[in-house]
Symmetry: C2
Subunit: 107 residues, 2 copies
């Protein structure tokens, strides 16, 4: 089970997996059953992978699915912050809210 390089984007990691395997977009796309153009877009973070696709990618490259999913989720949060030009401290606030909302739901 290969481990995934940290602190790049989801797409960047995917590209790295593919290049490490020495494969083309077309080849990998065929294996994970998507259009090569879509795979290219995902590698460039222009399209988001579905969960099902993340599973296929994890299976194909033999990486941990949960790890890959978390990479994707952290990407989404990072891009949201960048898009909104938000202050990084909202992450701390979000963390506190998670705890707060959990207590709300246990009532």
């Amino acid at each position: 089970m290969a481990t995934v390089k940290k602190h790049t984007t989801f797409g960047g990691q995917l590209r790295q997996l593919r290049e490490t395997a020495g494969m083309t977009l077309r080849e990998v796309a065929a294996n994970i059953e998507i259009d090569p153009s879509l795979l290219a877009k995902i590698e460039r973070n222009q399209r988001q992978p579905t969960k099902h696709l993340i599973k296929n990618i994890a299976d194909f490259f033999e990486v941990n699915e949960k790890e890959l999913l978390e990479e994707f989720l952290s990407d989404q949060i990072a891009y949201k912050i960048l898009d909104e030009e938000a202050d990084l401290n909202i992450l701390k606030v979000a963390e506190e809210k998670v705890a707060y909302i959990k207590t709300l739901r246990n009532e």
Copy 2:
């Protein structure tokens, strides 16, 4: 300029602002020009406010617009984590990715 109570949800804060002002949903809704039912849903975090609406709310209750917007964004992140049942450490990863993506863009 009133300051907003921390560590609740966006909707919770909005409700608090309204109740502190002693106003009904209908009254506030009329002032910020939305349907009362929509306002009720926003207060219960069942609908998301648009940015324009956040501005109207900030103006109406005389609270800081940027602060309110950040409350909304941190809500979105918190709900994403809860929905996905993600580990909180993805927030740390997201923070690192923000820095990383910023360097990517300056190339």
